[in-house]
Amino acid sequence: MATTRSFAAASAARVWPLPMALAVACAVGCGPSGTATTTSAQRPVDRSSPTVPPAQAALDPSANAAPADEGAIQLRGGDEKEIARIVAASRGNVVLVDFWATWCLPCRELFPHTVEMHRRWKDRGLTVVSVSLDAPQQAAAALKFLRQQGAAFTNLLSPYGVSPQAFEAFEIDAVPHVNVYDRAGRLERVFAGGGAPINPQEIEEAVRSLLETKAAVPGPTDPASKARATAPASDAASSTAALAPPPQ
C-alpha cells in the first residue's frame, strides 16, 4: 500500500544496535574535523512525502543521524508532575512519553523508533518526551546517548535515582515503557516492558491512529467534549479495543 510507512525493515536494524549506534556516533564524530555535520546535511532528507516507498521508509537511524545543531539536544531534571504539565500544555497534540535508561538494552534498541516517529510526525502534531530513569550521576552518559540518537525533543532525567520510588512515581513496572496520550491529553495507549518485548510497529500504528483523530479541545461550551472528559477513565487493557486499525 502506497501510503503505508512500515518500520518492518527496522526489525533487522534492532538486531544490530551496536553497529547502528556506532554508525550514528561516527556520523557526527568521526572523520576529519569540520566535515562530519556537512556530511549529514548533504544527505537528501525527505521529510514530507506521504508516498515514500517502503524501502526508503524503513528505519535507518544513520541516514538522518543527528540534526546539524547537536547542542540543541538537552537533558533536564523532570518528575511525573513535569510530565503531566507537559501533557496538559500539549493539548491538541498527540504526546508520546518514552521511558528509558542507559542501563536498559531494549530501551536503547527502541529509542531510534521514537526518534524516527518524531522526525516524521512532529509537523503533524506529535510531541515526544523522553524520560531517563538513570541515576543523576549518569546525566552525562544519558545526554551523550540522546545526542547520538538525535533526540531533538524534550528530554527529562528522573530525580529519583534507580529506585523503587522512581518506578512508583512514574507508575511503570519496568523500562522500556511507552505511554501515548491522545490530542485531548488522555492516556490512551500503554506499551509496557517486563513481558513480551514492545513492538515498535504497534506503537507506530497507535500514534498514527491518534494523529488521524482530530479531538476537540475540551471546553465548558462544548457539551460533547465535556461528556468525554467526564467519562470513566479507560484502563490500558481496554483502551486498545477502542482503536480501529488504520484503513487498509
Partner: protein, 206 residues
Amino acid sequence: MSRWSTIGLAFFLSATAAVVIAAERSPNATKGELKIGDKAPTWSELPGTDGKTHSLDDYQSAKALVVVFTCNHCPVAQSYEDRIIALQKNYRDRGLQIVAINVNNLPPDRLDKMKIRAEEKGFTYPYLYDESQQSAKAYGAKVTPHFFLFDKDRQLVYRGALDNNMNAAEANEHYLQAAIDAVLTGGKKVEKTTTKAIGCAIKYDS
C-alpha cells in the same frame, strides 16, 4: 424493572466490580506477581553453574528462602550481586538460603557465561539457568533482579526490591534484610511486604 431499580443495579454491579479489581491489585505489585501468603511455586532439575541440577525441594531445611530472578548482563542486577553475596554470608548460619535463577535467553546470559560470572564474583549460592522460563512466569517476575522471600513453610512474606537504590552508597532502606530479620526472629511479622522491583525487564520468549 423501574428506572431506579436499573440504576441501582448498575451501581451495585460496578461497585462490586471495582472492589474485586481493587482487591486483586495492591498498589506496588506487578501484575501477575505472586501474592503475599502464596506458596512458592515448585521448580526442579534446573542446571546450576556448579554442574549439578537443583530443585526447590533441595532447600527444605532452610528457615528462610530467597528466590531471586537475576541475570548476567543487566547493570542493575550486577550492582546487586555484592549485596546478595553479603546477605547470604551474614545470614547463612541463621538458616537463610538464597537461590538465584536466570531465565534470560540472550547469549551473554546463558549457562556458559553464567559460570564465568559466578566464579569471577564468587557467588556463595546456587546460580541456576531456566531455559523454559517457567519458574519466572510462575513467580510473576518482571525484572532482574526481582526478590521473593519465603518463610519456613514456603509462604511468600516479601516481594520486590532488595533495597531502595541501585547505588549501594545511597541505599538507606534495606527492605529484604528487614524482612529476613523478621522471618528468622520467631513470630515477627514482616512490616513492609511489597516494594516495586527495579531492574531490566525480563524478556519472555512467549
